[in-house]
Symmetry: C3
Subunit: 163 residues, 3 copies
């Protein structure tokens, strides 16, 4: 037997895959006010350049430490930030899950976000990996921790929407 | 329990995922004459810009209303349309399925099509989401309705092959 | 019943999907010395332009015929080849598996590799399909044969790392 394949049950694996599919659909539909509901109240959400992460440097491009901060971010995005809107399209693949110490699942996955600005062609925007801690909160899976570790230290223009 | 995860059985979810994998393989192999066989006789296939779809505007870039029309399209592609050939490569992710009223499944998924023209580098061609109605026809899953809702109102050159 | 969906068991399908996810994670983490361990001792690994493959031409861009040759390649990559390093990000989708004659599985999948060079934006690097023969070696799945059939005859600069 391939031990790695049996540590997380088939049902849990499909639930985890579905979580990522719903997460992508939420962001790509620009339903930003629903985005914080994918997280626990005491969540961590960070967007980190790969070079910093691999060297153990603490600097993040974005760092939020609670669902309240995520809601503030959504408010900023939708009400106050002056920016040119764009569409996102998430491709999330290679989901690998294992049980986490203390409960839930440690999950990593590759992501690619395609961006489409008004009047422009679709283009590669951001690629990297998620390193997440997912927990079951009364029957629904939520992110307790989500790290978006992106491969390029350059970002085309500013990063407005969540990854 | 995560209710959403249990509405469609494990077996049906894997059958649906396989349908999309075979659909992608068919188009990417340029086996266009097989493409209409993924649809029911009374199918709808539409390619729609996201802006139009989100505003409820009826205009489609392409709209076919039966398997016969799909076959006509394939004939046009392979026999009559003057165009520069290119390769397609479909990445289909984030498949979300739920039972449809009246039978079958409502499915949405993200797609990215990479295009490679002869003598050129591979490039982002079209990204968007599928919004589909899939039914079981004597044991095989087929598309009764397939909407390809693409993010960019611009398309690099003309769109020849199915998405 | 959809015959194709039931030929490979649910458990085997998930094991195969996990193999590809671990393969992608290994390469994208640049853990190249672990890469040969995904293969059998008598493996074949080839990188082939689609035009050559479809015409039955034998020429490969890269061709290795044993795990020892893969290890030599890793040594070359990590110790001797003069090249500008870059990050890879694999998106592997549309995995289709069927039992192989003589044991194991015939698998095809679409892949897209995003490349990020230092100081540059992420970009489409290579897209194509895997055509693989996977076998179970004392409980672990390994590639006995892996073909990386890429869509573009052009490659942006030289191809250093495995696909």
């Amino acid at each position: 037997m391939n031990a790695a394949a049996t540590v997380v049950s088939v049902e849990d694996r499909l639930r985890i895959e579905e979580l990522y599919a719903r997460y992508a659909a939420c962001l790509d539909d620009a339903r930003f006010t629903e985005w914080p509901e994918f997280f626990t109240d005491d969540c961590t959400y960070r967007v980190v350049p790969r070079e910093n992460y691999d060297r153990g440097l603490p600097l993040s491009t974005l760092a939020f430490e609670s669902k309240g901060m995520l809601r503030d971010r959504v408010y900023a995005i939708t009400e106050t930030l002056f920016h040119e809107p764009y569409h996102q399209r998430h491709l999330i693949t290679g989901i690998l899950a294992e049980p986490a110490d203390g409960g839930g699942f440690r999950v990593r996955a590759n992501y690619l976000v395609i961006r489409t600005k008004s009047g422009s062609l679709s283009e590669v925007y951001n690629a990297g990996r998620y390193v997440d801690h997912i927990v079951d909160v009364t029957g629904a899976l939520r992110f307790r921790e989500k790290l978006c570790i992106f491969d390029s230290e350059l970002i085309p223009n500013s990063m407005i929407y969540p990854l």
